[in-house]
Symmetry: C2
Subunit: 125 residues, 2 copies
Amino acid sequence: MALLDAGRSMGRAFSVRELHAAAQQSEPKLGLTTAYRTVERWREEGWAEEAGSRGGEAVYVLCAAQGHHHHVVCVDCGATALLEGCALEPARDSARSAGFDLLDSALAALPARCASCADGDGGGR
Amino acid sequence: MALLDAGRSMGRAFSVRELHAAAQQSEPKLGLTTAYRTVERWREEGWAEEAGSRGGEAVYVLCAAQGHHHHVVCVDCGATALLEGCALEPARDSARSAGFDLLDSALAALPARCASCADGDGGGR
DNA sequence: GCAAAGAATGAAAATGACTTTCATATTTTG
DNA sequence: CAAAATATGAAAGTCATTTTCATTCTTTGC
C-alpha cells in the first residue's frame, strides 16, 4: 500500500496530511479520508502511535518495535529514537504508589527536542 | 475571578468547556472566549499545564507545585496526583544518550488510569 | 465465469474545538 | 474627569477530523 511505503520512507513523525501528500506522489488519486482511516487502523493494530500534535495536527510515529518500548520524538522536526530498556519504570513505580497506572500506550512517544533543533538549526521539516 | 474558583474547586483535570460551565454557575454571563483566553494565560504563566486531550478536547490541570514536578492524570476521570521526586530522570538520561532533550513542559502531566477507573467504576466524571 | 454480498474508497458535506474580529464596557493613569 | 489601555462577549471564521453516501474493487459460492 502506498501509504505504508510513504510512512516508512519519511523516517520521522508525520501528520496524516503529510503522509497523504507523500503517498499521493505514487498514488495520485488517493483520498485524504483513506489516509485518516488507514492511520487510525494502524493505531488500533499497534503499528503506529500517536505522538502529540504539531501546529494543531496530530502526529504519528510508525513503531519500530512491538511490545513494550518507548520512542522519543522531536516536537520541532519529528525525528525519533528508540529508548533502550524500561526508562519509565521508576515513574511507573512512583505512579503506582499514588494509586495510578501509567498508560504505556499514551507514553509510547515522549516529547523531546533533538540536538539539531535545540541548536536552532531549524532541523529538518 | 470566577474561573479560578471553578478551576480550584473541581480538583481534577478539566477542559475549557467544563471550566466555563462550572464558572458560569457563579458568573452566568461569562463567555467561553474569556475562558479560553484565561486558561491560555494560566498556561503561559505556569499556573496550569495541558494534560493531553479527552474526547477531542484539550484538558488542563492546575499546578499544585511550582518548579520541576510531574503530575499523573487519569485519562478517564481526570483525577490527578503529584509524583514524588524526579521519577523521569532515568528516562531523561536515556533520551540524552540518544541525543534528545525530554521536554518537561510537555511531560508535566503523565497519562494514567486511577484505581477506581481501572476497576470499571466509571470513576467520577 | 459470474452474480450477489461485503469491504474499501473518495468527494463533498457536516462536526466541533478553538481563534479572530470587532464593537462595547471596564479599568488605569494623569 | 478625559484619554489611553485593557478586558469582555457575541458572532463569524478557521481548520483538522468525521460522517455520509454513492461507487468501485474483492470475495465467495455456485
